[in-house]
Each structure stands twice: as structure tokens, then as C-alpha cells.
Amino acid sequence: MSSLAAATPTTTWYLILAAVLFGIGAVGVLVRRNPLVMFMCIELMLNAVNLSFVALAEKMGDIGGQTTVFFVMVVAAAEVVVGLGIIVSIMRRRPGVTADDVSALRG
């Protein structure tokens, strides 16, 4: 117990946490069927990457990685707008639709 309390988080911890979050996001996109949740999983993946960027930038004492995060956040915000627009336009036509219902295209 004492060793756990004494341990200070290192960069590796953050990188592992980021990898785990990225994995959860990736699995979420693949197994969940609600378009909104799939979309949230993609956001989780992007933010996991942001965490790695910040951790790595902190370790190297380089500001570049931290500024990158702001660019990624802007991109994620733009994706939210477009993604929700598309999801709303589908939901308006067919309420309560899941990704399995949206399957007119196959072959």
C-alpha cells in the first residue's frame, strides 16, 4: 500500500492509460450499434490520442505536442457538427434507428 501511495505517475502511466482509452473507443465503435454511441467512441479515441500527445510533449519538454492538441480539438468539434447533422437527418426520417437498420446498401 505504501509503495502505491509513494509512486509518482510517470509518462508511461499516461501512455498506457491513453492506449487503454483508445482501445475502449475502438472496441466501442466495432460492437455498439447506436450511431450516437459509436460517434462518442470515436471522440474517446481522439481524446486518448490527445492525452498521449500531452504526455509525450511534457516528457520531451516540447511545446509542439501540446499545441497539436488544440488542432485536434478543433477538428473534433467540426466532426461533431457534421456527424450530428447527418445523424439528425437520418433520425428525423426514421426515429430510433440503429446502425443495423441503416443497411439498404449491401451486396
Binding site: L15, F22, G25, A26, V29, P35, M38, F39, I42, M45, L46, A48, V49, S52, F53, L56, K59, M60, D62, G64, G65, T68, F71, V72, V75, A78, E79, V82, G83, G85, I86, I87, S89, I90, R93, A99, V102, S103, A104, L105, R106, G107
Partner: protein
């Protein structure tokens, strides 16, 4: 007070094409919001003029680059070299052709005009930034500018459920791929301490890295390749392509297949060959596998489809495999054939695919739903000229001599053989024979199939002026390059060098 912020110097002349397109897009949106609706064709003509202005400026800059040499500008974020210049010309030309073919599509489907063109320009702008990006973060921003505009475009036919479905699928899978790509950038940044492509190459050339077998670096390269493979649609990251290509409005499909592929392949070539030349032995086998899988699976699955847009989607996967072959060849030390072959293929394929999809768009008729093979029945009798043009495009895609497609395929197979990758060259030739069956099926349907009951009741295929211009120009280009390929090959050879 000291100025603590150091602004990079900006080479305005070199980025004129980007500024022209950005200003044009803004102008388009402002005018569309503030003025009465213009006739829809005007927006298309405006976009075409914008794209032509970009092409002309870029041709002037081509000579400048030749005189001043290639260089990296704006704090090394963009490379201005002949590779960039040729990609920009290809993208702008594709933008012009697609805008023209969209003009009467929008009129036929009674959709709104101006926003679609603004999105086209925005996507082309993102594509151009991608091809020039010498910094991975800039590359990511270009990629997202292209992709986000394409998500909206794919879903832009509001009355077709398929269009929205295709937009949603493209959006989810595109976002998924972008996240992988970005994670790859983060890991490379963690290993090398920079996101700049040329500086990364310098760092990796250090002895520490040459000896070390850094797991984080390899994971980064793998994730980057996954992200890019999604974007260029190579097997096994291709499964979104048929659905998205089929559901999206047909002119948008042609835009994805031309501009999207040029941008993603240019970015892939730059990352692999500029940033990671010291890691050739790590990434070349991966590219080899992706190339072989794509040509084989793409060709084989294309043959069993019944919808022409799906067939062409699978055929685009097989074409992507051919382009990967060129990149594989360029990954051999001292190779000079691979990269020109890739550029040549991209330029030729862009024009071909736009021509093909324009014909498909006309045959799909009102509602954009008649893309099944049966709708092509009797096209040879009803519209012989249109059917002839389609035949030229299909023969070219199959790689028939005297068409541009032969030059493209010959280029990549030749470069593979020159590097003694005989296995891949033979597999590609066999696959292209399989793919020929698919093109023949469409041709047989157009020229030889007997009419069936109900064919007379179908809406007649109308060929509007703008679509006519696109098809004529594409046919002329296809045959011209097929018979006199020298000038384009020379241009591709000049363009096959990177700045930085």
C-alpha cells in the same frame, strides 16, 4: 517590449493556388447567403473558372519551381516541389470536371446549388494541403478538411435514404480511420520528438535509431499505414467503399474516387518515402501485402456485383492495389520508376473515373437509382455516342493498349519488374485479366443484350451540355495519353522528387 512570438515568414506566391480556392469558397458562401438564387449552372461555371485559375497559376509556378528549386515554406510546414505541383494540377482539374458534371445532376435531382460547390472547393483545398504537407499535423488537418467536406457531400442528396446511409457509414469509418492515423502521428512524435516530415527523417537517420528496433516507432508506422489504407481503400480496409460509392450522389462518388485517392496516395508516398526511407524494410512488406490483396480481392469481388456503382467501387479498390504496387517499387533503394508510375496512374485514373461515373450518373436517370446493370441494357441503340464513350473508359480501365489505362498499368508493372518484384507483377497481370470480365459485362449489357419487356417505358437517357463536355474531354484525354503518352510521362518523371 520584446516580441516573444516569432511568426514564420510566409511564401505567399507559392501558396497562391490555396488562397485562390479559399477566397473562392468564401465568396461562394457569402454570395449564396446574401443574393437571390442564381441559375444553378452559374455556380458550377464559377467553380470551374476557379479551378482553371488554379491550374493556370500552378502551371506558371511549375516553371518557378524548376528555376528556384523545390523548397519547404512556412516554417517547413508545406513542401513546394514538382510533386506538389502535379498533384495540385490533377486535383484542380478533377474539381473542374466534377463541378461540370454536378451542374445538371443538381438540376435533375432538384437539389440546392451553391453549398455543394463550396464543399467541393473545401474538399479540394484539404486535398491540396494533404499533398503538400511536410508536417504530419498539417497533413492531418488537410485530411480532415477533405474528409469532413466529403461526409457532408456523401449525405447531400436529402431525398435518398441511401445517400444518408452512405454519409453515416463514411463518417463513422472515416472518423475511426482518422483516429488511427492521429495515434500513429502521436507515437512517431513520441519517438522522434518532431511532427515535421523532413526533420523526422533526419532524426531517424541517426545511428541510435538505425540500430534500435523501437517498438513505439514501429507501432506508429503501422497505425499510420492503417489510417492511410482506410482512406485510399485498400484491402483489408476497403469494406466501406462499395456502400459509400453506391449510396453517395454519383458526381460525389467520382470526386471521392479521383481527388480523394490522389490526395491520400500523395500523402502516403510522402510519409513513406520522405519521413521513413530508413525504415523501408519495415513498411515495404506491408505495402506488398496490401497491394496484392487489393488487386486480387478488388478484381474478384467486382466481377460478382450486379450494381454498376458497386462494380466500379471494387474496381477502384483493385486500381488502388496497382498504385500500391508503384509505392512498393518506390520502396526499393535507388528506384526511379516507382514514384513516376504512381503519379502517372493517379492522374490518368482520376480523369478516367470521372468520365465513367459521369456516364453512370446520366444512366441512373432521375432519382439517381438506376445504377443496376440492367439499366445499361440497350444504351448502345439509344445513345450510341454515350455508349461508345463508356466503352472507351471501360477499355481504358481494363488496360487496353492505345488508351491511357494501358500506360498507367504498364508503368506500375514495369516498375515492379524493374525491381525484380516478379511475383507481384504476375499477380497484378492475372488480376487485371479477371477485372476485364467485369468491364466486358457492362459493355455486353450496353451493346449486345436483347431488350426486355418494360425497357421502352423507362425514362430516356438525357445528355446535357455540361455532362457532354466532361465526357468529351475525358475521352479525348484518355485516347490522347494512350497514343501520345510522352509528355505526361515526362511530367511525372520531373514531378517524382520531394523537397525537404
Amino acid at each position: 517590449m520584446n516580441d516573444t512570438v516569432q511568426y514564420p515568414s510566409i511564401d505567399w506566391l507559392a501558396i497562391t493556388p490555396l488562397i485562390i480556392l479559399l477566397a473562392g469558397m468564401m465568396l461562394n458562401l457569402v454570395l449564396a447567403a446574401l443574393t437571390r438564387p442564381w441559375p444553378r449552372a452559374w455556380y458550377a461555371l464559377g467553380t470551374v473558372e476557379l479551378a482553371l485559375a488554379t491550374v493556370i497559376v500552378e502551371m506558371v509556378l511549375w516553371n518557378d519551381i524548376g528555376r528556384d528549386g523545390s523548397r519547404v515554406v512556412i516554417n517547413d510546414a508545406l513542401s513546394i516541389d514538382h510533386f506538389t505541383a502535379l498533384s495540385w494540377i490533377a486535383i484542380a482539374a478533377a474539381l473542374a470536371l466534377v463541378s461540370l458534371s454536378t451542374a445538371d445532376y443538381l438540376r435533375r435531382e432538384q437539389l440546392d446549388g451553391p453549398e455543394v460547390y463550396a464543399l467541393y472547393i473545401c474538399a479540394a483545398l484539404g486535398a491540396m494541403i494533404m499533398t503538400a504537407a511536410n508536417d504530419m499535423v498539417v497533413l492531418f488537418l488537410g485530411l480532415e478538411t477533405l474528409s469532413i467536406a466529403l461526409y457532408v457531400l456523401a449525405a447531400s442528396h436529402r431525398r435518398r435514404t441511401e445517400s444518408q446511409e452512405s454519409g453515416l457509414k463514411y463518417f463513422i469509418l472515416g472518423g475511426f480511420a482518422s483516429a488511427f492515423f492521429l495515434y500513429g502521428i502521436a507515437l512517431l512524435y513520441g519517438t522522434t520528438g518532431t511532427t515535421n516530415v523532413s526533420r523526422m527523417a533526419d532524426v531517424l537517420r541517426d545511428e541510435v535509431f538505425l540500430k534500435g528496433d523501437d517498438a513505439m516507432l514501429l507501432a506508429g508506422v503501422a497505425l499510420l499505414l492503417v489510417g492511410l489504407a482506410f482512406k485510399v481503400a485498400v484491402v483489408p480496409f476497403h469494406f466501406w467503399t462499395p456502400d459509400v460509392y453506391q449510396g453517395a450522389p454519383t458526381p460525389v462518388t467520382s470526386f471521392m474516387a479521383s481527388v480523394g485517392k490522389v490526395a491520400a496516395f500523395a500523402a502516403m508516398a510522402r510519409i513513406l518515402l520522405v519521413a521513413l526511407p530508413t525504415r523501408i524494410d519495415d513498411w515495404r512488406p506491408v505495402v506488398w501485402v496490401l497491394a496484392v490483396l487489393s488487386v486480387v480481392v478488388g478484381s474478384a469481388l467486382a466481377v460478382v456485383q450486379t450494381d454498376v456503382k458497386r462494380m466500379l467501387a471494387y474496381s477502384s479498390i483493385s486500381h488502388a492495389g496497382f498504385i500500391m504496387m508503384g509505392i512498393e517499387a518506390a520502396g526499393h533503394a535507388g528506384d526511379e520508376d516507382g514514384l513516376p508510375a504512381v503519379l502517372l496512374y493517379l492522374v490518368i485514373y482520376s480523369v478516367l473515373v470521372i468520365g465513367t461515373f459521369t456516364v453512370v450518373s446520366l444512366v441512373s436517370r432521375t432519382g439517381d437509382s438506376g445504377s443496376d446493370l440492367g439499366w445499361f441494357r440497350g444504351l448502345g441503340r439509344q445513345r450510341p455516342a454515350l455508349a461508345l464513350a463508356m466503352t472507351v473508359f471501360l477499355l481504358a480501365q481494363a488496360g487496353m493498349p492505345t488508351t491511357s489505362g494501358f500506360i498507367a498499368k504498364f508503368g506500375v508493372i514495369n516498375s515492379a519488374a524493374a525491381n525484380e518484384s516478379y511475383a507481384i507483377a504476375i499477380i497484378a497481370m492475372v488480376a487485371s485479366v479477371i477485372a476485364a470480365v467485369l468491364y466486358l459485362r457492362i459493355m455486353v449489357s450496353m451493346w449486345l443484350s436483347d431488350p426486355e419487356v418494360g425497357d421502352d417505358l423507362r425514362e430516356k437517357v438525357v445528355v446535357p451540355v455540361t455532362a457532354n463536355v466532361v465526357i468529351t474531354l475525358s475521352t479525348i484525354f484518355t485516347l490522347l495519353v494512350g497514343v501520345f503518352p510522352g509528355w505526361l510521362i515526362d511530367a511525372a518523371r520531373t514531378a517524382a522528387s520531394f523537397a525537404g
